[in-house]
Amino acid sequence: MGGLLARARSGDDAAFLELWRGLQPRLLRYLRVLGCDDPDDVASETWLQVVRDLHRFDGDEDEFRRWLFTVGRNRAIDAARARSRHRVSPVADGLDGFADGQTVEEQVLDGMSVRKAIALLAGLSQDQAEAVALRVIAGLDTPAVAAILGKSPGAVRVALHRGLRVLAADPQVRALADPRMLALGEVTE
């Protein structure tokens, strides 16, 4: 991605698009775990900020990812403040959120499975969900997650550990270990 970054910084729209296509899905998933009312809107705000300041960014791939998710998190916080609402996770309430609220394309393709997985994460406590999401979805290491969350690496490790234990005990996650299970993550073609 380093080459892509350099090309995008020089104004190469093809490089930017490739960069965007690689990271946008993960950004959206992270924002959904945060409980954004409109993750697409927040992601758009995030990329707008990134595009405006891209010419001033001088880091590598990992730093860019960390920067993107930092901006995304802050835009999500701004959006939540603007709406004067507390964190809500509509997909975390049972299975209703993805039983009826998803597009047919998502149902047929694997987006359906991603939504279920996000719902499982969103069911954790907020610090656990964020730590796991930044670790797994954003692909960041513990120090980077700690920097984004403003916590110590030790506190992040504790949140990760507890979050993983809760997830591992979930019946749906346990069912995933069943080789007959197709519901999560199976690719149709």
């Binding site: 296509r21 595009v51 010419h55 920067w67 007959r180 299970m181």
Partner: protein, 408 residues
């Protein structure tokens, strides 16, 4: 599993740095699969904003230009904002990594232009910039002759100048044009060629591109389903509309093609002839699996050219019922979920209503009789349950009616 997919450019893999995290995940196969899904490749809906993102990039990107580069005045990037403002604005500043100090170097050209000793050169450059500005504006609005427009595109495409020679082609690869989108690029994207969603909201990356109609301009063939979610074993009605050269086309036989999700082959599910409105309606019956549908037609007198519509997806939802019976010894109750159209091995989750929301309680797979039983303790007060059949490639998620377990 999607976790086994090759890594995509620019996408961090699902690898997890080695520490306790790894140990826990490796000891829990379910967690590994869950995280594989979370880190899997994009769903079409997740990339639907590509056009907007590209337009935003073109509008706001400030490329690092070499010092001697001259940018035509009308389309030159805006001056850099004064002061080092960290990416992410106020809230991002503390954690924004890798930021360079803001620099505003003056190029040799700058010095030569704004040199008080050369007023005549300044006037000449001003005239040149004004001419370039006019040229750029003309290019931006596609009012130049085609060869000149193409040349302008070569120079100014980063600023969104369209290319009349290549249409939507550019450095990003060709897109599929479908249905009613013939002859029109995606709105607001200049020379962008990102796969876009069609007017009916179907994924534009589908392989269905409408074929040309000799002598009649390009044809458009749309498809619409009366319902995108049906009960297993039910039927769905599809309407195709054929147009060419801006007018509807009557008297053409359209074939409704069906591809079951997870399979690659299309088969004909039925056909109909377009009427005076250009529409043909076909019903597909006995649907038991998720499937894609599209229309195909031969629209020339010679039959040499065909046209395909986009695809629409139809989700099939198996009915799911739950019954309650007293458990052995009267110490609890047995909830048995049954779904005749599901497959053995499909997972059913039992949910319990508590605290204003549904909680997952147990999960089991359907047996060979497509049933699964859950044992629950006798509650102190009436307790509500429901079952959820998780969606698979073959069918959508199904939720049963709520049942109540009485207190003992």
């Amino acid at each position: 599993m999607s976790a086994d997919r090759p890594r995509e450019p620019g996408v961090p893999g699902p690898e997890l740095p080695g520490d306790l995290f790894d140990d826990i995940v490796s000891g829990e196969p379910g967690l590994g699969k869950l995280f594989g899904v979370l880190a899997s490749g994009p769903a079409p809906a997740e990339l639907s904003g590509a056009n907007d993102a590209l337009a935003m990039f073109r509008a706001h990107a400030q490329p690092s230009l070499p010092p001697t580069t001259v940018v035509p005045g009308a389309l030159a990037p805006e001056p850099r904002a004064p002061g080092p403002r960290a990416p992410g604005a106020h809230a991002s500043s503390p954690h924004a990594p890798g930021l360079r100090a803001l620099r505003t170097p003056r190029t040799p050209k700058d010095h030569s232009i704004f040199n008080a000793r050369a007023p005549r050169r300044l006037a000449a450059v001003t005239v040149s910039l004004a001419a370039a500005a006019g040229l750029a504006v003309a290019a931006y609005t596609s009012t130049l002759p085609a060869p000149i427009q193409h040349a302008a595109y070569q120079v100014l495409r980063f600023a969104g100048v369209p290319d009349t020679r290549n249409g939507a082609a550019g450095a990003l690869g060709a897109s599929h044009r479908t249905g009613h989108q013939h002859g029109h690029g995606a709105p607001g994207t200049g020379a962008g060629s990102v796969p876009s969603q069609g007017a009916s909201g179907q994924p534009g990356a589908s392989p269905s591109a409408s074929g040309g109609v000799p002598g009649a301009g390009q044809a458009g063939l749309s498809v619409a389903a009366s319902s995108d979610r049906i009960t297993s074993g039910g039927s769905d009605t599809f309407t195709g509309q054929l147009s060419g050269a801006g007018q509807v086309v009557a008297g053409v036989r359209l074939s409704l093609e069906q591809r079951v999700a997870g399979q690659r082959t299309w088969r004909v599910a039925g056909s109909g002839v377009t009427g005076t409105t250009g529409r043909a309606t076909v019903t597909a019956s006995g649907l038991t699996q998720n499937a894609w549908f599209r229309f195909a037609g031969q629209v020339t007198a010679s039959g040499q050219s065909g046209v395909l519509s986009q695809q629409v997806a139809v989700i099939v939802v198996p009915p799911l019922s739950v019954r309650v019976a007293a458990g052995p010894g009267g110490r609890g109750d047995v909830l048995t979920a049954s779904s005749p159209f599901a497959s053995p091995g499909d997972v059913v989750v039992l949910e319990q209503w508590s605290g204003g929301r549904w909680h997952n309680v147990q999960a089991h797979s359907l047996n060979g009789s497509r049933q699964v039983s859950f044992m629950v303790r006798a509650p102190a007060k009436p307790q509500q349950y429901r079952a959820v059949l998780l969606g698979t490639v073959a069918h959508g998620t199904s939720v049963s009616a709520t049942v109540t377990v009485r207190a003992r």
